[in-house]
């Protein structure tokens, strides 16, 4: 069955963005974090809370029933509220649901937000599935990606220093982002200190803190009826979600899943990799940016490290990778991360990203993966 082209039949737009800075766990409640982001998004869109017809909250760590106790403090309007959990892609999936709701015609204005606070451990369900393996608890996420790094570096004769340059770039980008958890420029020497696992060092692994991000999704009818500034509304032209298939023994599932999901998104948008000006990628670990650059078709297999070194993926290069600082520097508070990516893409397409602006950005992608494994990709375009 061919899926109906909802996003082209009834276009949807991001009309408002708002964030609470990503930061280490603090005494701030998740309610205050989330309200900060949503209030900012409403102001950004020029809307009132009473204009919002539904809410989707991406969260993986808060537990049941997070939305109403938070959003009712904007006014208990009785709108439908739904929590969305999809591991690291929870916020991305909240956006996907919000886009679907607007594209279907059910609502004209929907908020998608992400909010989380670390509670010690991820509590991932796959560990409770009763499927044991030989490694026991010795392979945690950073070692999984250290092993992927080993495989990639051996196959393509890439050095530790070349992988670490991803982190140099993304920390530099994050230093210009007031919402980033890490806002320091780091030298290659600093990046290479404090080994964690394999070639990965502390600054090549993302910080998991707290924060919030919100975007407001609207239809053309909503934009016209509520007199929203059309020049700052960025169109969502693809929303693709896939889960891991069977790719064969020894094949990197993370890259294969990204390749499939990216291809589906490009097809939906009738665009290709060369059209991307901005890419917010799931760089929870530095090696991932290289893997996904190639999986998404931004360069040939084995080329990503040299493209990073050439500056091609810098702000000002052919495609700015993670201009927000990415997960490595902006941070990865889980629920908010995918929403924050879309907020950054919108800021870039509007031309409002200040010192980290990619010039003449017209098309951007946000890409997240999550434990399970799931991948969610959105493509946005300046109309």
């Amino acid at each position: 069955m061919n899926a109906p082209k909802l996003l082209s039949d009834r276009p949807v737009f991001v009309v408002g963005i708002g964030l609470h800075r990503y930061q280490r766990r603090s005494d701030a409640t998740y309610v205050s974090l989330g309200l900060t982001a949503v209030r900012e998004a409403l102001v950004d869109a020029g809307l009132e809370w009473t204009d919002v017809e539904a809410a989707y909250t991406g969260t993986a760590l808060l537990g049941m029933g997070a939305s109403r106790i938070m959003l009712s403090r904007l006014g208990a309007t009785g709108i439908p509220m739904t929590q969305v959990e999809n591991a690291s892609a929870s916020g991305s999936s909240a956006i996907a649901q919000a886009c679907l709701e607007v594209a279907s015609g059910r609502s004209d204005v929907v908020v998608a937000l992400g909010v989380d606070k670390p509670r010690g451990g991820l509590g991932a369900a796959p560990g409770e599935a009763g499927i044991n393996n030989l490694e026991g608890g010795s392979v945690v996420p950073f070692t999984h990606f250290a092993l992927l790094a080993s495989e990639y570096m051996n196959l393509h004769e890439v050095s530790d220093e070349q992988v670490a340059k991803v982190a140099v770039k993304n920390h530099r980008n994050g230093s210009q982002n007031p919402f980033a958890q890490r806002q320091k420029v780091r030298t290659l020497e600093e990046i290479l200190t404090e080994p964690i696992s394999g070639s990965l060092t502390r600054l090549q692994c993302c910080p998991v803190g707290e924060g919030a991000a919100a975007v407001i999704i609207a239809s053309e009818d909503g934009i016209n009826r509520l007199q929203i500034d059309r020049s700052r509304a960025m169109q969502v032209v693809a929303s693709a979600t896939k889960t891991e298939g069977l790719y064969g023994e020894g094949v990197g599932i993370d890259a294969a899943l990204t390749a499939e999901t990216g291809a589906a998104a490009f097809e939906e948008a009738s665009l290709g990799p060369s059209d991307l000006d901005v890419l917010e990628v799931h760089d929870a670990f530095a090696i991932e940016e290289l893997l996904y650059a190639e999986a998404l078709g931004l360069c040939q297999p084995g080329e990503a490290a040299s493209r990073i070194e050439s500056g091609d993926f810098d702000i000002g290069g052919s495609c700015a990778f993670s201009p927000s600082g990415g997960l490595l520097a902006m941070g990865h508070p889980i629920g908010p991360t995918g929403v924050g990516q879309v907020a950054e893409v919108v800021r870039q397409l509007r031309g409002e990203a200040g010192t980290r602006q990619q010039s003449d950005a017209r098309v951007g992608m946000a890409h997240m993966v999550g434990i399970g494994a799931v991948c969610v990709v959105h493509i946005l375009r300046k109309p």
């Binding site: 490694e135 608890g137 010795s138 092993l147 992927l148 696992s197 394999g198 020894g250």
Partner: protein, 131 residues
């Protein structure tokens, strides 16, 4: 007091030790670890699986030495490898010794770990480079 694998359904304490996987009778997919639910390839229920012995021998596809760990065991630093077994499936396991590199041929051996509350010795399967 006995000696037994941490997860008895994954290992046979033969010499050399044997890894236990499953084979889907319907689609012939061989997989590790043995799955109690169903086949990811064809969807057949696990009741149609047969136990499938796998030689604890293979080639290292990736390797990482872990310097920070959230638990007291294994003691850091320790090295984890991705090992393509000669029987097909790929496993991750601790590889002992300093000489392991991508491409090394490795074999499994049983190594004693902690004792449980009854004094039984729990053993794990680790790998080492075949000289």
């Amino acid at each position: 007091m006995t000696t037994e694998p941490r997860h008895p359904h994954l290992l046979k304490m033969t010499d050399p030790p044997t890894i236990v996987g499953h084979r889907c009778v319907t689609c012939e997919r061989v997989a590790f670890p043995p799955d109690p639910y169903g086949c990811e390839k064809c969807g057949s229920p696990a009741s149609t699986f047969e136990q499938w012995d796998l030689e604890a021998r293979g080639s290292v596809q990736a390797v990482a030495t872990v310097h920070r760990h959230h638990r007291s065991t294994p003691v850091t630093p320790f090295t984890v490898g991705v090992i393509g077994l000669v029987g097909g499936p790929v496993v991750k396991a601790i590889v002992e010794g300093d000489s392991v590199v991508v491409g090394s041929t490795v074999e499994g051996f049983l190594t004693p770990g902690e004792q449980d509350d009854d004094g039984n010795v729990i053993v794990d399967l680790h790998f080492r480079v075949v000289q």
